[in-house]
């Protein structure tokens, strides 16, 4: 055997060398375009970079000025409000829809397929439809309510702060329900029906069956699904950018849209990076929560590790 052949042989039989080789393309892509920019973003937050001018280190000046910036604090408040309300609604309605779909109903697979549509189509494009539905002059919701005699003038959905907040939350919930419902449905389908039969023989009411069988068995998957949902709602950008651009009076600006506005059209890259960086602590908290959620799942199934 020549030395080259022996080398080839060694490579083909070593898990460590092969592992590194197989991992190389994915690792290269992620290190260059994910890990490095993550670090770079952190660094940018401590500089005075603008578009067209590389900045110098200026310490925590960006964060100090953000701390005095009422628009920034408004966007933080909006982000938490948006995430909290939208997540609760998505969870409640999604769980309800999942429970309905888990019943013995006609056209079950067709219904399941159709319901996922809002989640499949590009968010930006469905957001435009919502923008049109919320139009101040031609809103179909206003038209219907007027016809029913419930209101006497058209609602200015996107013109008043709280109405605008409610409107974008409704659009976000609309888009998020299918994901929650279909994931929870998959979880529901793993629960053995014999558990329900046994409970019924013991005289458990439907609420008791939900509370003592469905809920505990579904908790692990709920933890994971809601972590995903919370993270992607917290960092949402598209819906707000399309429907309100942060208005009226910054009432719907989220941290992501404010970061974009300051960094790209405004040119203040460093300030935008600082705003985006301010989201990281919350994301870390959510990821830790997810990690312990997964741990609990393994423990509940009698496993020892995650």
């Amino acid at each position: 055997m020549t030395s080259a052949a022996r080398l080839l042989d060694r490579i083909q039989n070593s898990r460590d060398i092969l592992g590194v080789l197989f991992l190389l393309p994915a690792a290269a892509l992620l290190l260059v375009f994910l890990t490095y920019p993550l670090g770079l973003g952190g660094w940018l937050g401590f500089t005075d970079t603008t578009i067209g001018r590389p900045g110098v280190f200026i310490g925590t000046d960006n964060f100090v000025s953000l701390a005095r910036d009422s628009v920034f604090w408004l966007s933080v408040w909006n982000t938490f409000l948006y995430t909290a309300i939208a997540s609760v609604l998505k969870f409640g309605l999604g769980l309800w829809l999942a429970l309905l779909l888990n019943r013995n109903i006609a056209f079950k697979s067709l219904l399941r397929a159709v319901i996922l549509l809002p989640w499949i189509v590009p968010t930006v494009l469905s957001a435009i439809a919502f923008w049109w539905i919320y139009d101040s002059q031609f809103s179909v919701i206003s038209w219907t309510l007027t016809r029913l005699g419930l209101i006497d003038h058209y609602i200015d959905f996107l013109g008043q702060p709280n109405l605008a907040r409610g409107s974008v939350i409704a659009a976000n919930v609309w888009r998020g329900i299918p994901f929650v419902a279909i994931s929870l449905l998959a979880g529901l389908q793993t629960i053995s029906p014999s558990l329900y039969e046994a409970a019924m023989l013991d005289g458990a009411r439907s609420w008791q069956r939900f509370r003592h069988i469905t809920y505990p068995l579904l908790t692990p998957i709920v933890a994971v699904v809601m972590t995903f949902s919370v993270i992607f709602t917290f960092t949402d950008f598209q819906l707000i950018y399309v429907i309100t651009r942060g208005g009226p009076l910054n009432a719907t600006h989220l941290m992501a849209t404010l970061a974009f506005q300051r960094a790209i059209p405004g040119g203040q890259l460093a300030e935008g990076a600082a705003i985006a960086g301010a989201m990281i602590p919350f994301l870390l908290a959510a990821i830790l929560f997810s990690y312990f959620g997964l741990q609990r799942r393994a423990w509940q199934q009698g496993g020892t590790d995650a």
């Binding site: 375009f33 888990n102 189509v121 590009p122 039969e197």
Partner: protein, 291 residues
């Protein structure tokens, strides 16, 4: 053997039909109406002539009297919409292909080669999945600019894998886990190399997983917005979501007809793909959520 799903509602016969109508079909109908209404509204607006679109007094907004394809025609012949569609296809297909190859190799390495530290790499991939584009786009924009990739399709093709690779790898790891070890051991004893095992045994068995990951990655790239909005500025290289929102909205006058036509046409490709592969989507979605 009956699956758990098939008889999940084994005790349903105990419930009377009228009661079921109110507790199941009524709320289900409301859900369905709300979830599908925006699509109906998109389609309705697309085919309505302007005269009907802005006159609710004489025409009901829910119906169209004289359907027209004017808005679609305007979109296809008077705007750059066809080139946005082409760009979106090009970028989505390329980034999906790159991500699938990289992910299949990585998932096999993590799940089956079990090299030293593979567990931590797996964890890292999961964490990478949780890094949202909205905190990456600013530093990525500066990188794209320095690399001279600003305003090119390549910028998008190279950055989309940041969210596609973690997702596909995670999904494929789950699929590879279901392939019996014994098959690989047999092949190893027969003298197959790891590369042969991957290409001749594992990948053919993982085709459903590859399809799931592929169509999901394609959909995610098709729907991507923030990177495309930031890294591209000329009309010729824009993708559909960015083109519709930046170029069809002119000043204060919104051409709702062509906007809705743009939204509808841009949604159709993924909706059609989805209708062919519903089961793969569902398994992709739930596979990504389960560990």
């Amino acid at each position: 053997m009956r699956s758990a799903a098939a008889d999940a509602s084994g005790t349903d016969y105990l419930e009377s039909l009228p009661r079921k109508l109110v507790t199941v079909y009524l709320p289900l109908g409301v859900f369905l109406f709300v979830l599908l209404f925006p699509f109906y509204w998109m389609a309705m607006t697309t085919v309505k002539p302007n005269a009907e679109l802005y006159d609710y007094k004489t025409y009901s907004p829910f119906w169209v009297v004289h359907p027209t394809l004017d808005h679609v025609k305007k979109l296809l012949f008077d705007t750059s919409y066809p080139s946005w569609l082409w760009n979106t296809v090009l970028v989505s297909v390329s980034s999906t292909a790159i991500s699938l190859v990289a992910s299949a190799l990585a998932a096999y390495a993590i799940e089956r080669l079990r090299f030293r530290g593979s567990r931590y790499v797996g964890m890292g991939i999961f964490l990478a999945y949780l890094v949202p584009p909205s905190i990456l786009f600013i530093p990525l924009a500066t990188m794209v600019f320095r690399l001279g990739l600003f305003d090119t399709r390549l910028a998008l093709i190279l950055t989309y894998p940041t969210f596609l690779v973690p997702f596909c790898t995670w999904l494929l790891m789950g699929y590879f886990r279901t392939i019996p070890y014994e098959l690989e051991e047999c092949a190893l004893i027969d003298g197959a190399t790891r590369w042969q095992i991957l290409t001749r045994i594992v990948l053919p068995l993982a085709v459903p997983g590859l399809i799931s990951a592929g169509i999901f990655a394609f959909t995610l790239s098709w729907n991507e917005f923030i990177y495309a909005l930031t890294f591209v500025s000329s009309s010729e290289v824009k993708t559909v979501p960015v083109g519709v929102i930046t170029e069809l909205v002119e000043g204060d006058v919104y051409h709702w007809g062509s906007l809705m036509a743009g939204a509808l046409l841009g949604s159709l490709p993924v909706a059609v793909l989805y209708s062919f592969f519903v089961e793969y989507y569902v398994s992709g979605l739930t596979g990504a959520v389960k560990e």
